[in-house]
């Protein structure tokens, strides 16, 4: 018996998208010959500079625009079929929602579009508002939401239909570090629940933290793709991080390195935290102090 063929969450084959320029003969090639595959349960990061074709690729995948050539499919169903979006959640870059609706009404509206029952909508609305930390703003109209809150309600609407694939286009654009961290935590949680995620970003550190595999897209072409650890590994170097190291031990290591013919010590010293981690640590400590004082 033949082995059963595994259907990936996303399969894009040789995708090319060309946009005609109105009233001119020239054309803009947004994506050229791009192929990628996202396995079920995998978090895939599509990184590249602005205008490199990330959003166009996502739009073709979600059936918002059609491919000039090539194909794309979600769980084996062509992107041109509406049924392919039955288990997809999408968060566009800088999303705008109906600002006259409240947070709860927004989720209810999208829940109805996903075909959820009234009871299920009620359950999912409470669950998701709690997940994205917007319970206090559930009855406030979106017109009064901050940028970070909009991004979080956007993520909640993407998850309302309990999707098996989540597509996030620049999910942390314009969000403060704490909000950004919250979104990353949510992505990690999705991954733990076996949900496939494809996200685009030009904030590389974020991608590094959450993605299993990464594709680098430049001028419409996928120029590099692979597992994150393999891509960022520097083959010729080795890192040793010691805690509470005795100066004598460090001295011995130095001597051993000097005795070797090929090995060179490139750098030693205290490892640095990131500015973001420092910001989060300090703001968290400050808010705890305020709470204690209160």
């Amino acid at each position: 018996m033949m082995a059963e063929k595994i259907i990936p969450a996303v399969q894009i084959n040789n995708l090319t998208k060309i946009f005609p320029v109105p009233f001119r003969k020239e054309k803009v090639i947004a994506v050229e010959g791009l192929s990628l595959r996202v396995e079920a349960g995998e978090v895939y990061g599509l990184i590249g500079p602005n205008g490199s074709g990330k959003s166009t690729t996502m739009k073709v995948l979600l059936g918002l625009i059609s491919a000039t050539s090539g194909s794309s499919a979600i769980f084996g169903l062509s992107s041109s079929e509406t049924a392919s979006r039955g288990s997809v959640g999408f968060l566009p870059e800088n999303p705008y929602f109906y600002k006259y609706l409240t947070g709860a009404e927004t989720l209810s509206f999208y829940g109805k579009l996903c075909g959820l029952s009234r009871r299920k909508i009620k359950e999912r609305t409470s669950e998701l508002l709690s997940l994205v930390d917007l319970e206090n703003a559930r009855d406030r109209r979106l017109g009064g939401y901050s940028k970070g809150m909009l991004q979080r309600i956007g993520l909640a609407q993407a998850l309302v239909g309990d999707p098996r694939l989540v597509v996030l286009d620049e999910p942390t654009a314009g969000v403060d570090p704490a909000g950004s961290r919250k979104i990353r935590d949510l992505i990690i949680e999705l991954k733990q629940r076996g949900i496939s995620v494809i996200l685009s970003s030009h904030l590389l550190e974020q991608v590094q933290e959450v993605c299993d595999r990464v594709g680098i897209i430049f001028q419409g072409k996928l120029i590099k793709e692979g597992k994150l650890e393999e891509l960022i590994e520097i083959e010729s170097q080795t890192e040793i991080i010691l805690e509470h190291a005795d100066p004598k031990i460090l001295d011995q290591i130095n001597k051993l390195v000097q005795a070797s013919e090929e090995t060179r010590l490139l750098r030693s010293g205290k490892p640095k935290t990131t500015l973001e981690r420092l910001f989060l640590k300090e703001t968290r400590a400050e808010s705890e102090d305020v709470r204690k004082d209160a």
Binding site: V88, Y98, R164
Partner: protein, 308 residues
Amino acid sequence: MSADKVKSVKEDLVLQHKLFSLSRVWAIAFNTFTQLVRMKVFYFMLIFSVLIIGANFLFLNFTFEQELKILKDVSFGAMTLFASIFSIVGTALLIPKDIEDRTLYTILTKPVPRFEYLVGKLIGIIFLVAVSLVLMSFLFFAVLYFRQHGILAEEIKMIRGGATDAQKEYLKETIFAQGVRPELILGVLAIFLKAAVAAGVALVVSTFASSTLFTIIVSLVVYFIGHAQSLALEYYFPEGQMHGALQRFIAGIVAVVFPNLQMFNIFDGIITGQSISTTLMFRLIGLTGFYLTIYSMISWILFAKKEL
């Protein structure tokens, strides 16, 4: 996720997807209605109230027939104006705005066929027009009712030595013939049908327009030409003459692009007391159904492959 599970995802998606879902259409329609209501469009009721109540006091020296006629004229005119503005501006404002704001992305990336989105928007706007016409009708009929009774009392009082029963009955019959009558409802229905056709025109334009302003201008041009369409067709293709296939084709295209909106203006006759035949009303309902079907199909064809 195991291979089996992933395979079943595909099967689930195909099985669970409904090609057409009334509940999705209604969700979009109700959302459109809510959006317009919360944009405070019903503030127009204040303007409408001022107009029809003002019409009572502006023409005090007229005969009661003239006074009631003016009241009906102003009310029907205002209802036509508001209903048409709502249908055109509402459609033009919402669909291009959804595209500009990218709200449409979040809707169409759910399992919502584009046709359902268009139909939902159209129904939402038509529903709003219907509700606003019902509200305006209540106000209009109430003012007319009180005015006809007021006029009757005034006329009876003016008869020296007191009116006899026969005189009272005559006055009542004459005045009430110009007052609230069931035919007025047919006039309101015709205004509603005309506004629905205008919404259909705006829907088609908004699927290829690049902005709200463009949609409003083009729809208004079609709306105004629609009132002169029958005259133009009559001039170029007079009835009783033989026309070739090409001429008939051109006339057909003109009739689809520019709907005959003059046909819906039956309230002039209603104001002067003419009776409206059931056949005419069914014809208007049929014509509206025809135009809305054609316009929904054209919109879908234009919107189905639109690059968003």
